[in-house]
Amino acid sequence: MFSSISEKMKDLNKKDVLTWMMNNAIFFVLIGLLIVIISVSPDFVSMRNFRNILAQASTRVIFALGVGSIIVAKGTDLSLGRQVGLAAVISASLLQAPDYAYRMYPDLPQLPIILPILIVMIVTGFFSFINGFIVSKFKVDPFIATLGMMIIVYGVNSIYFDRPPYGAQPIGGLDPRFTKFAQGFIDLGGFKIPYLVIYATIITIFMWILWNKTKFGKNIFAIGGNEEAAIVSGVNVVKYLLMVYTLAGFLYGFGGSLEAARIGSATNNTGNMYELDAIAACIVGGLSFSGGVGSIAGIVTGVLIFQVIAYGLSFIGVNPYMQFIVKGLIIIIAVAIDSRKHIKKK
């Protein structure tokens, strides 16, 4: 049956309408999913669910935008999840409530929230800078370079995490200001907007401008599309790769701090495997591993699709193990449809 579908798909692009449908297949997947969920459980349509899904997608959008920029420049980043974990652990350790009994730094004064977040962004920015350095200078395949970094960062995080006075205890008792920073919301007369959604929106707009309106954006697309051509036309590839990795690192650092505040605690396992979710969302959202293709809207949609799956399928009571199967199928189907249009291009 699948072969006949793909047979038919070859003819599909001939007509403009169908081409449009194919190019936006991912939106139809999202709409289709929503229809199924709503038809099973009509009470899914509520402001509260809508808000929950957006809030839950927020940190993931931030991570996906970071790794998405790297993917556009024909790279990838497997160290994302572990860097998020490092950011979560460091920010949590520096922002524990002053009256909490098991503080990692018993004598640490109460810091302004922004300070630990900046520290964390510098730390993850540094690790990501090294990623970029290894990839651009030593020409190590990004998959391998960041795989190594993933393991290194986990080691660094575990050393930081598992030490006196309390050893490998989850870091809890977070400063209420810090948890409110992520869990709070603006109340517009009963219409609540979570802070998380606001942060994610600002970052999305920022990234959209960066991708579409700046030299940086043009150059990362050029590098991803055809590196040799980019070099010939005078793009400083090393510089832009360093920039794109470091930028991703900043986003992991900020998002990782939010993750700690949102969860209310952090361990050295926080963020584990987030890279796969983020990369899958990017690819489902239309980015290509061969670089040079993609849009911010696609990434956001990709993240939302996975969030709708996770939230909606739990909401209508789909067996948790079955959810893995659906998630896997969505990745394969979405990318299979998507790759048809790239084949056509070549």
């Binding site: 798909m9 199924v36 929950n52 809890g172 008792g173 605690s265 996770a310 909401f315 948790p320 193990y321």
Partner: protein, 345 residues
């Protein structure tokens, strides 16, 4: 147009999968009369928790509509599931935390929705428990598994004077410890030996090493100890059954359990494999962490509070001063093995 249909067909494959499977979910169907109770399990494929989950499902049959969630060992996932369940209008939450430190976040979510919460199996801090009047806990006292194991050792020892091979009246023991720093490992190690001493039996520790809860490590350590101490070892105490089974393997390979060559081995957990060994008379005993009653008590409390009743109404459970129901551990030997087997049905 045909092509569009083909495309839609591909999608519908996925969607129908999702839709169909939703019917197989949750034990008691979607009868809107029944109160909804939201349950999260820290990890569905955890051996012990899967039995607790089954006990909850069995008890809920026909009484409540369960919304079961697999938190996939990720606290962020669990928080999101709690948001989802609150949006779905559950009457009570039963939460098996991934990370006990995250309890305040869950409690604040429940507070905002004015929902009662029953935590189970992973205990929140005292402050967290005190921060909300509609929160209770179902679990065990971790020191108790050690105490029960100690009793089991003392009773067996008194019954079998022939185990005192050198006749000095002392137990020369080796101890396989779980992961260092793990509260269960520390408590079991401390209390099992202390209880034996409290029973008036003198002990001498020949070896104490961590086997990291692992069968292979347990076997390797036992190999080393047997070649070092040989028959001087009179008792093998393990913090869990997996390590006890490893020690058993090593003992078998070294000619024990043939003829009258015997070595008493005890563990904790009552995993099915260990029960087999107890039945065959190779292992002396183990300690059952009672999944059936933990799940049962969790459901009883959640069901009561979901209906706005006192959490203990109509049950035999008792709360301690930390608003907790403590389900007792049970010592398992050849004499009462059916109790443990019952727990796995």
């Amino acid at each position: 147009m045909k092509k569009v249909l083909a495309l839609l067909l591909a999608f519908s494959l996925v969607f129908s999968l999702a839709a169909c499977s939703s019917k197989t979910e949750t034990s008691s169907g979607s009868d809107s009369e029944l109160p909804k109770i939201g349950v999260t399990i820290y990890k569905f494929d955890d051996n012990f928790m899967s039995f607790v989950r089954r006990a909850i499902e069995t008890k809920a049959q026909g009484k409540a509509e369960l919304i079961l969630n697999d938190s996939q060992n990720n606290q962020a996932t669990q928080n999101e599931q709690v948001d989802m369940m609150i949006a779905k209008g559950v009457k009570a939450l039963a939460i098996n935390l991934v990370d006990p430190q995250a309890a305040p976040t869950i409690i604040s979510k429940a507070k905002q929705a004015d929902l009662p919460v029953i935590f189970f199996n992973k205990e929140p801090s005292e402050e967290a428990m005190a921060s909300y009047d509609k929160v209770w806990y179902v679990g065990t006292t971790s020191s108790e598994s050690g105490v029960i194991q100690g009793k089991l050792i003392a009773d067996a020892w008194k019954e079998h004077p022939e185990w005192d091979k050198n006749g000095d009246g002392k137990i020369q023991y080796v101890l396989l410890k779980g992961e260092p720093g793990h509260p269960d490992a520390e408590a079991r190690t401390k209390y099992s030996v202390e209880t034996v001493v409290a029973e008036g039996i003198e002990v001498e520790q020949l070896e104490l090493q961590t086997g990291m809860w692992d069968t292979v490590k347990g076997k390797e350590l036992m190999d080393a100890w047997l070649s070092k101490h040989g028959d001087a070892i009179e008792f093998v105490i393990a913090n869990n059954d997996a390590m006890a089974l490893g020690a058993l393997q090593s003992l078998k390979a070294n000619g024990y359990f043939e003829g009258d060559k015997f070595m008493p081995v005890v563990g904790v957990d009552a995993i099915p494999d260990a029960l087999e060994q107890i039945k065959d008379g190779l292992m002396v005993g183990t300690v059952l962490n009672d999944a059936k009653n933990q799940g049962g008590a969790t459901f009883d409390l959640a069901f009561n509070v979901a209906n706005g009743k006192d959490p203990l109404a109509g049950t035999e459970w008792k709360l301690d001063d930390k608003k907790a129901v403590r389900v007792p551990y049970i010592a398992i030997t050849q004499d009462n093995i059916e109790v443990a087997e019952e727990a796995y049905k």
